[in-house]
Structure formats: C-alpha cells, structure tokens
C-alpha cells in the first residue's frame, strides 16, 4: 500500500506549525479520510469539522496544498504519489484549533439580511411559479455554506477591517437569491449599497472558481446585483417592475 505524506497544520490562536504524518493510503481515499486516519491512530486530538462526507454540508473546508477545498471531495489520487500534501485551515477566519476556524462572521452577516417577505397567495391558495422563473434562485439555493468563497475573497482575506462592512460573496449569493425570488417583496438595495459593501467587489471571480457547488457567484449573483443597485437606486419604478415580473 502506498504511503501518503501529510503536512497538517497543528496549533491555535497562539501559534503553531505544520506537522508531518505518514499514513497508508487505501484506494479511493479522500483527504478527509486520511485526516481521520491520523486522528484515530496518531493524533487523537487533531481538530477538524465534518458531517456528511459527501460534499453536502460544507463543514470540511480547508486549504489543501494552498487551494481552498472540501476535504471530503478531494481525492488523494489527484496528487502526485510520494509528494507531501499540506492541509491548513482557512486563512480568512480566526483560528480556533488545527483545521477548525471561527466562522461566526458569516452567521453574523446572515442575521443582517432583511428577511424574505412573500406576496399574498393566489386566489386559489397556491403560489404559481414557472420552473424557468426559479431556475436562477435555485442555483443560489445550492449553496452549502462552506464559506470557501468568503475565505478566498481578497477584500476580507487581506483586510481584516473590511469585515465590518463587507458581506462577502456567500452573502451576495443570498441577497441575489432573495432579490430574484419570484415571491419576495422586500427591498434590500440601499443596505447592499451602503452597508454590505457591494462596491468593494472588483469582480476578480476568485469566489466563483472555488465554489464546490459551481454557483456562478460573480456572473449570476454579484454583477446583476450591482446592476440593480446602480440602475434602480434612483428609479423605484424600474425596481418594482423587475420585482413584480420576476425579470432578471
């Protein structure tokens, strides 16, 4: 059986460094399996988050060989055999321990999103929506909140201060989902412009590149939001028309 050489970050807010572990690699293993193997046999207190092991819950985000990834969906066989693989925590969030970071920023920002506010039901008690009108918001609903896009966005990765007034790509996806929801009647434009830092985004598309759900964050969420905010900020009629007809 080939041996995997893993360099895993160990440490907490006070400091730390990479530690090397050698693990027998079984066929089909993903990085998370190897981390679990290290935990079970060599480093029982190695801290890591995970839940589904199938790319559905967004718990196991880390930087593998410097790339933001879900550990449970990263096969070991994509790396050259015999070369060390580094596994580090997401850098943008404060470290708790080993591979676990404090992602509460994202949950705080989520609290500030103005709620979904639906229009009344149709007279027959249903909400009629055509599939093509919900395809786009459904794309956004695929988000598993892995926060890899938040991790990679330079606006907050390199400038801690910006976290106060920048919601980040994950939250822009959320705003876009609400804005394009055929039933929603709430208006979030001023907030997006003034408090959520939509203007800070300079469309580098780094977020889109790392999204494990392949959500086209920049093209489908951020750019249309920017357009809405700019065009319609002083044109409430246009906004209302778009909202009511559900046009993108």
């Amino acid at each position: 059986m080939p041996t995997a050489i893993m360099r895993v970050f160990r440490g907490d807010a006070k400091g730390g460094g990479f530690q090397e572990y050698r693990v027998p690699a079984e066929e089909g293993m993903v990085v998370l399996d190897v981390i679990h193997e290290i935990q079970a046999t060599q480093a029982p207190d190695l801290a890591v988050r995970w839940n589904c092991k199938a790319g559905k819950c967004g718990s196991c985000s880390a930087e593998v060989n410097g790339k933001p990834r879900l550990m449970c969906m990263t096969r070991m066989n994509i790396f050259p055999e015999g070369e060390p693989i580094t596994v580090a925590p997401m850098r943008t969030f404060p470290l708790i321990r080993d591979l676990v970071t404090d992602v509460s920023f994202n949950f705080e920002m989520a609290k500030r999103v103005p709620a979904f506010r639906p229009r009344p039901r149709d007279p027959d008690g249903t909400y009629r929506m055509q599939q093509e009108d919900i395809d786009r918001p459904q794309e956004f609903h695929k988000c598993i909140e892995c926060f890899l896009c938040q991790n990679v966005c330079h606006v907050i990765r390199d400038h801690e201060d910006n976290k106060r007034h920048f919601a980040g790509p994950r939250l822009f996806v959320r705003y876009a989902a609400l804005e394009m929801h055929p039933l929603d009647t709430n208006d979030r434009r001023e907030l997006l412009k003034e408090k959520m830092g939509l203007g800070f985004c300079n469309i580098t598309k780094c977020c889109t590149e790392v999204c494990p759900e392949h959500i086209k964050i920049t093209d489908n969420a951020i750019i249309p939001l920017k357009e809405r905010v700019v065009d319609e900020y002083y044109d409430p009629v246009l906004w209302l028309v778009r909202k009511l007809t559900g046009r993108k």
Binding site: V48, A54, C57, R97, V100, A110, M129, Q131, Q138, H141
Partner: protein, 599 residues
Amino acid sequence: MAETKYETHEYDVIVIGAGGAGLRAAIEASARGVKTALVCKSLLGKAHTVMAEGGIAAALGNVYPEDNWQVHFRDTLRGGKMLNNWRMAQLHAQEAPARVLELEEWGALFDRTQDGRILQRDFGGHRYARLAHVGDRTGLEMIRTLQQHAVHKGIDVFMECTIIRLLLDGGRIAGAFGYWRESGRFVTFKAKAVVLATGGIGKIWKFTSNSWEYTGDGVTMALDAGADLIDMECYQFHPTGMVWPPSVRGILVTEGVRGDGGTLKNSFGERFMFKYIPEFFRAETAETEEEADRWYTDKKNNRRTPDLLPRDEVARAINSEVKMVRGSPHGGVFLDIASRRDADYIKRRLPSMYHQFKELADVDITKEPMEVGPTAHYMNGGVRVDADTAATAVPGLFAAGEIAGGLHGANRLGGNSLSDLVVFGRRAGLYAAEYAQNLKGTLTVDAGWVEALAQEALEPFQRTGGENPYAIHRDLQETMQSLVGIIRTEGELKKALEELATLKERARRVRVDGNRQYNPSWHLTLDLHSLLTVSEVVTLAALERKESRGGHTRDDYPKPDPEWGRVNIAVRRRHGDITLTPDPLPEMPDELKKLLEER
C-alpha cells in the same frame, strides 16, 4: 434556583438539535411567546437534515389528484407493517401538506409542475407520486429555509455546544448540562421544558449513511431521564448505499434514482426484485417488467414496480442476491439508470448523485450502472411520545423528528421523515411552550449533581488506562455490523451482548490526551456512553422480538407473527437497569381500520 459555578442560561424552552425538527420546534415555541433557545453539536445548518435528498412526502395531489391524506395514511401503515402509532400516522398524513406549503411561504423553492405548482416524485411504498422535492437536495432547501426563518425570528442559537445530560427536579425537567466544543467549558441551561430533536443512532454501525453526530445522545438522555423507548429493534437499513471504493462505503444513494426510473440488477443482468415480491404487497405490485415500466407513466392501469417496494424488502433482497453470489464485484448489486433514461434527464433530476459518483467513485451514472448495497440509515423507533403533543413520559420533556418513535412503525417510507420533522417539530414546540407557560412553582437545579457530572466528564483526562476511544468505536461498529445487522439470530445477538459488555469495560479505561479545547478524542469519549447504551438497547430489543417485521429480520424466526404484531417492545431504565416489556399497540378506530382494507 441554586447557582452552579458554570456559565448558566435560563429559558422557558430549550430545543436540543437544529435539524428540521428542532428548527421547526424552536420557531413554534418562540412564536408562542416563550423564551426559546436552540442548541446543537455542529454549526447551524449542518445537521443531518441538510443531507436529505429525495423529497418530503405530502398528499398535495398536484400530480395525482386522486391522492389524499387517507391514501398517505394507508401507505404509511402498510410500509410500517402495521406497528405504527395510528394517531401519529393520521396527524402526519393530514398536516404534511400544510407544512410543505408553509415552507414555500417561508421561501423554499420546490421544483414545479407544468402549471406552476409543486412537483411531486415517486418513492418506494407511496401509491402516488407524492414527494415534493428540489432535484436531489431537498433537505438542503428545507434546512436553509427553516434556519433563515429561525434566525430572523431572533431565536438564540448555541452552536457547537453538546448536551450530555438532562437535569431533573423531582422527576420533572429542569434543564440540561453540556459543554462548548470550542473551549471545552461547561454550560448549564435552566429550562422549564426541553424538546429533544437530536436525530438517530446510525454511528453504531460500520456502514452507515450517518455523520459523526448520530451517536444516540438524545435517545440515551431520554432513557436515562426516565422516558420510554419503542421499536428500537426495527432499524432501517437503506437498500442503496455506495459500496466502492472502501472509503465511501455507506454513503447514501437516494431512492429517487429508482423513483425516476432506475432499476436493480444482479450480475446476470436480471431485474431480481420480481423474485422477491412478498405476499403482503403482491396485489399492488407489477409482475412483469413491461407492466413495471408502464407504471412510471400510467399509474391507473399498472401496478408499481417491485424496485420501489418498501426499503426493508429491497434491502433483504439485495442481501440475498449478494449471499447467493449474484452480486457486483465489490459486494453489492447494480443500480442502473444509465440504460433507462437519457443523460440530460439524469443530470437534471439527480445532480448530486451524478456529482457524488463522478467525484468519489469515478463512475459516470449516465453511462454505467452504480454498485450499491444496504447501509444503516434511519431509526424507525425511538422515544415514545404522545401523538398529539409529542410529550414523553417525563414531565416537561418532548421529542420530535428521527428521535421520536411511533409514526413509522417497523419501517419508514422514504420521504416520510422530512414531513415528520415539520409536522411533529411544530407540535413539540407548541406543546412545550404551553407546558412552560402553565408550569407552576419553581424549579431547582441541584448544583451538587451538576458538579458531579462535570467531574465525571473530566475524568478521562486523569486516567492512566491506555484505551483509545477511536479504537473502541471502531470495534463497536464491527460488532454491531457483523452481529446486529440486517439479518439476526439469537446466537449472534447473545454474542453481541457479551462483546458489548467488554467494550463497556474498555470504555471505562479510556484516557484522553491534550487539553479541553476543541478536542475530538474527548468528544468521542463522552459520546461512548450513548453509543454503547443504544447498541445494547437495539440488541436487547432484537433478541426480544421473536419474529421478522419491517426493519427487524430474524433468521431463526423468518416470518411475521400476528401476536408480535400487536405489541411494541418498550424499553425503560429503572434503577439503573434496562427493562423490556411488550406493550399493546393503541387501538385504532374503526373508520381508520376501514381505510386499510381498501385496495
């Protein structure tokens, strides 16, 4: 209330567990105006509910207007081999449609019919296409909708906070005690009422679709507090989990694959399910491949494909095919949708299955069959509750979701869990709030007891024994997999009990290294108590039920026995010991009995 030296919070209602059931309970309790908190082991939004794939069952009648709650009720009881609590099944079937529409009103976007209503898909054991869904990621849509709704309602959330014990005062609920995973510090909740929504126990088996969270904490805490458990022997093994490569073994393959036209085949290419149609379902199941294939588009004139028999039947059939050496190369059978539906359809209907096989197994499901086999999946039984109020036998303690028993009887139908969560989550929140509002007098949390619990939890740091908690967990999973799996015998069950006794001994010698800060080996060490308790309960109950029914199959008693069909096995802890009693099922009213007689 006496003070303990630990961080303390006071609420009217605390909800333990933030999956669909817990979120819905917290939303309801908070809407009733009581001070409510939600506590969960993982981050918010990561509970099991997020993984649910195929859909939520509700007789909306959007695709088949013939569908209604009576048919859903009947399907649920037949699927559960009549061991269900009839009242729960009735409430569930009646209220599920309103709960689904409520999710839509809170922002959920289900896939649509041509005329713009909620689309429904076929699933095992449901007579009509009944599952509202979003591709194969329905649970994600549901948990996100509920999570966002709860957040906007301002409910306090304690995430990555694990509860280890319920606190009682004179037999009534007085709160709960736990620790923050991040810091390892203890925390006490004082509460008038507690809703348990902690889900299942799937981590006692080796091949499982469940995550690290499913260690049976809630079930164990309820048992230790004096509540009854029922139907614990009837565990559901889902017929289709991944089998290859080894590291993904057990990960779920949704029943939606078969609902959307996929079919099971053995190594000879034979659609073997036609050989396994039980007498009980013969009248409603297709006998030929032609009829089965026509059924997908014309349900009026054809009977359902045996590929969509209830899960217990399909899991046993796969098990036999593998035993008779007609399986696939890696010890499963084939699940083929590639030869039956075009690639676009498969990718649109089953995007995450496509992705999962492509990324994890190098299999393109639009071109080749999948290899699948049974995997531990769902606790059909659980904590016994009052059907209407979700109250347990302990005053102030409520339970909803996978943790609660009764609704599903001996076997749950696919899609009936997500609907269970919202129907009974809402009821649990409602009645917990009502209980808290009406509670007279004061509750005291015994500071000495809390201190003893804290010391007990810290003990593994001081031990000199050399046991590793991961090794004990692995050995437990081997034991349960090989001796208390799908097919059981008295000899093996007794052997399992002996092995469990040894494992309990070993658990007392676990030593934890490192400190209390985010230390998974300490967390697992604390979970061992529940893992071992629920394993023992399942094994004892399996030994007791001397027949085969639903999720419980005995090789030495291969047939259902009408006598056993009249009782639930109730498990209680009295003075430290676990006791089992056969309790008669609640008597069903005649008008509901009539529904069951109709075809």
